[in-house]
C-alpha cells in the first residue's frame, strides 16, 4: 500500500515537471501572445495541480492538504482570469492574432 502511494506520488511529480517544461517550451516557441497564453496558462495550472497532489499524497496532515488544495484552487482561478484579462487587453489595444 505504502509502495503504491509512493509510486503514485512519484508519477504525479514527474508529470507535473513535464507539464511545466511543456509550458515553457510553448511560451518560447509559439508565434504570438494568444497562442503563448494558451500554452502557458493551461499547462502550468495543471502542472501545479499535479505537484500539489503529489505532495498531498505524502503529507499525512489534514491542514497541510487543505492549504495545498487552497493554493491550487487559487492559482487555477487567478490564472484563468488573468489570462482572459491579458488576452482581452491585447485585443482591445490592437494586437493582431497570428495567422498563417
Amino acid at each position: 500500500m505504502n509502495l503504491f502511494i509512493d509510486g503514485a506520488s512519484l508519477m504525479l511529480l514527474v508529470l507535473g515537471l513535464l507539464f511545466f517544461l511543456s509550458g515553457t517550451i510553448g511560451l518560447l516557441r509559439f508565434p504570438d501572445v494568444f497562442t503563448r497564453l494558451h500554452a502557458l496558462s493551461k499547462t502550468d495550472t495543471l502542472a501545479l495541480g499535479f505537484i500539489s497532489a503529489s505532495l498531498a499524497l505524502q503529507s499525512g496532515s489534514l491542514l497541510l492538504t487543505l492549504k495545498l488544495l487552497l493554493i491550487t484552487l487559487l492559482v487555477m482561478v487567478a490564472g484563468a482570469t488573468s489570462s482572459s484579462l491579458i488576452a482581452g487587453a491585447a485585443i482591445a489595444r490592437g494586437v493582431r492574432p497570428w495567422q498563417r
Binding site: 503563448r36 505532495l55 495545498l68 487559487l74 490564472g79 487587453a89
Partner: protein
C-alpha cells in the same frame, strides 16, 4: 525522497530561468507579463517542493502569498499600465 524534491525544485528553477527569455525578447508588453505569470506559478511550485524538502511548513504561507498577489500585478497592468482606450466601437475581431 526529500532529495528527490530538491532535484525537482532545481529543475523548476532552471525551467523558470529559461522562460525568462520571453521577458527579454518580448516583443509586446503582454508577452513580458506572461513570462512573469510563468515565474509566479513556478515559484509557487518551487516553494511547495522546498517546504517538503526542508520540512519547513511556513514556506507554504509564502507560496500562498505569491499565489494571491500574482493577480494584483496582472490587474494593475490591465487597468492602469496598459488600459484600453474605451469600449471597442465597431471593431470586430476576425
Amino acid at each position: 525522497m526529500t532529495d528527490l524534491y530538491f532535484y525537482a525544485a532545481l529543475f523548476l528553477l532552471a525551467n523558470m530561468l529559461v522562460g525568462l527569455a520571453r521577458a527579454l525578447r518580448g516583443p509586446t508588453m503582454p508577452d513580458r507579463m506572461l513570462s512573469g505569470e510563468l515565474m509566479g506559478t513556478t515559484a509557487v511550485a518551487v516553494l511547495l517542493l522546498l517546504s517538503v524538502a526542508t520540512d519547513t511548513e511556513a514556506l507554504i504561507d509564502v507560496a500562498l502569498i505569491f499565489a494571491l498577489l500574482s493577480v494584483l500585478a496582472v490587474v494593475t497592468f490591465v487597468r492602469r499600465t496598459w488600459p484600453e482606450p474605451g469600449p471597442p466601437r465597431g471593431r470586430r475581431w476576425p
